[in-house]
């Protein structure tokens, strides 16, 4: 009974919305909005196609993964270096704040000039946009470590890599993960944008192509595809975060209960 109620809560509203959508489009055919049934069949035809998967979807996802991973590694390493040194922190803060505030898509034209229009440019765009939230959050996370913890490590003679591995990284992890979450959504945006600008393949290119040729149901199926990727990414992130920060959420629960 309870399971039934829970599933009803989960699927109730989506079903209602789908029904409304079907009802609204079933009467007079609307040029801009396809019916759910048309969209579903088009989605199958367009995206479950071996060529499209191999030529457009997988390369796009590969570039996204490469860019995001590089940005996370770069951001955390640089962030640790800068965050643990007070002078370096003060020296770099205004410049980093500027780059964080810079809307990442404006870097697309710059990198198109400097790198050319190839795969490297697209990965560079993703890295150059995604690295800032991770970098600044790592600096912030390292900076706000409890000083007692720092002094404890020092008096126990824990230095260098072991200190980073066992004290600094874990304490900064919650803040770093918040940066990684931002980095993922920016990465997805930049993946699409870089392909809309100058590309002959990829998800963003395909969707714009559909729109320019007024293939409306196909265009909608592309929007759904991007949406599904977004949902999948956020799902992957949440399970990764739960794993990395298990101790942290446990701690919070204990604190909240007390």
């Amino acid at each position: 009974m309870r399971i039934l109620k829970n599933t009803l809560y989960l699927v109730g509203l989506p079903i209602l919305l789908l029904a409304l959508w079907a009802l609204a489009t079933s009467g007079a055919p609307n040029f801009f909005v396809p019916t759910p049934a048309t969209l579903a069949t088009t989605f199958g035809e367009v995206w479950f196609d071996a060529d499209r998967l191999l030529d457009d979807v997988l390369p796009s996802l590969g570039r996204l993964a490469a860019g995001v991973l590089a940005a996370i590694v770069l951001g955390v390493v640089l962030g640790l270096l800068v965050g643990m040194n007070r002078t370096l922190r003060a020296l770099t803060e205004p410049v980093f704040e500027f780059f964080r505030a810079l809307p990442p898509p404006v870097l697309v034209p710059v990198l198109m000039l400097l790198v050319g229009t190839n795969d490297a440019m697209k990965v560079a765009v993703i890295v150059s946009g995604c690295v800032w939230p991770v970098l600044l959050n790592t600096i912030e996370g390292v900076r706000s470590i409890d000083p007692v913890q720092n002094e404890t490590s020092r008096s126990y003679g824990i230095h260098g890599l072991p200190r980073i591995r066992y004290q600094v990284l874990p304490s900064a992890a919650p803040t770093i993960m918040a940066g990684v979450r931002q980095c993922l959504s920016i990465g997805l945006i930049l993946m699409v944008i870089s392909e809309m600008f100058a590309a002959s393949s990829g998800l963003g290119f395909t969707i714009v192509q559909f729109q320019r040729s007024f293939a409306i149901p196909e265009m909608w199926s592309g929007i759904v595809m991007l949406g599904l990727i977004g949902v999948a990414l956020s799902f992957i992130f949440q399970s990764a975060e739960r794993r990395v920060l298990r101790w942290y959420h446990g701690l919070k629960e204990v604190e909240n209960a007390a």
């Binding site: 919305l17 007070r86 003060a90 410049v95 000083p147 929007i223 949406g227």
Partner: protein
């Protein structure tokens, strides 16, 4: 979950100075430059590297003009009416989009958050729609509105709406049960309960949401102008690029960055002022 972490410490980034331990250490150490001075030094060093890279031929001067040229172009832009018109168009899309998104999200968030039934019934839909990247809507916006400000607005509103809605939902969920029950037994009406119990609890979360949404709104406004070609700074950038006015393009990019910095500073200031009564901000001032 991380959003609650961020939300519970509003304005933490603005904390003055380093932790206590670091301060004590530096007091006994040799005299050092003050932080703002070091920051200035960092900016100067950055500009110097940028100036030298093309001058020494380490980067193609055609594609990366030296900093002095770009800064000169930026100063020239400041005197042009067209530049300010583009800034105005971008900021108008930013402000209208942000305002609409905040109002919509706050009202809907309050309605959904205060009802157990609605919260459970909308959960799956919200969690599904939220991660959809707003750039996915670019083709749709082009079809519906063409190269006009409405396309920009559509993307900005969509992106900001979820940022704020999620924070408001977290905020409403954070309301103290005892306070709520007290208000109920004192015979507060629903409107009074919203105003005096729910709203103050939610406000720090709402401000965090607005702060995040303000920078997202700028990103989306510029993106839409860049990709769709609706009027504004982004459109000017793509015009400058295709017209081969490379230092002009870099100057405009600098301008968007400066706008972003200004927006960040302004929202942090507003947040601090609006929440001046809140313990998290009060504690910071006392420390």
């Amino acid at each position: 979950m991380t959003q609650t972490v961020a939300a519970k410490t509003p304005g933490r980034r603005a904390e003055p100075g380093p932790g206590k331990g670091a301060k004590r250490r530096s007091g006994s150490a040799r005299k050092r430059l003050s932080d703002p001075l070091l920051g200035l030094l960092g900016v100067v060093a950055f500009l110097a590297v940028w100036e030298l890279l093309p001058r020494l031929g380490l980067a193609p001067q055609k594609y990366l003009p030296p900093a002095s040229e770009v800064l000169a172009a930026l100063v020239r832009d400041f005197g042009l009416a067209d530049f300010w018109k583009a800034v105005g168009e971008t900021m108008a899309a930013w402000a209208i989009g942000l305002a609409v998104a905040v109002v919509l999200a706050t009202v809907l968030g309050l309605v959904i958050g205060m009802s157990q039934f609605l919260r459970r019934a909308t959960y799956s839909t919200v969690e599904f729609l939220r991660p959809i990247p707003s750039v996915a809507l670019i083709p749709l916006a082009v079809l519906l509105f063409g190269v006009k400000m409405e396309s920009t607005l559509m993307l900005v509103i969509y992106a900001c709406f979820w940022q704020v809605l999620i924070q408001v939902l977290y905020g409403v969920a954070d309301v103290d049960n005892v306070a709520m029950n007290t208000a109920r037994s004192y015979g507060f009406s629903t409107a009074q309960r919203v105003r005096d119990v729910v709203f103050p609890t939610m406000l720090p979360y709402l401000m965090t949401g607005i702060r995040l949404a303000a920078s997202v709104a700028l990103i989306l406004a510029i993106t839409a102008e860049l990709v769709i070609g609706s009027p504004g700074l982004g459109h000017e950038i793509s015009l400058a690029q295709s017209g081969g006015a490379i230092s002009g393009m870099y100057a405009l990019i600098l301008a968007t960055g400066l706008l972003g910095v200004a927006i960040n500073l302004a929202t942090r200031k507003v947040e601090k002022r609006v929440l001046s009564w809140h313990p998290s901000v009060r504690g910071e001032v006392a420390a």
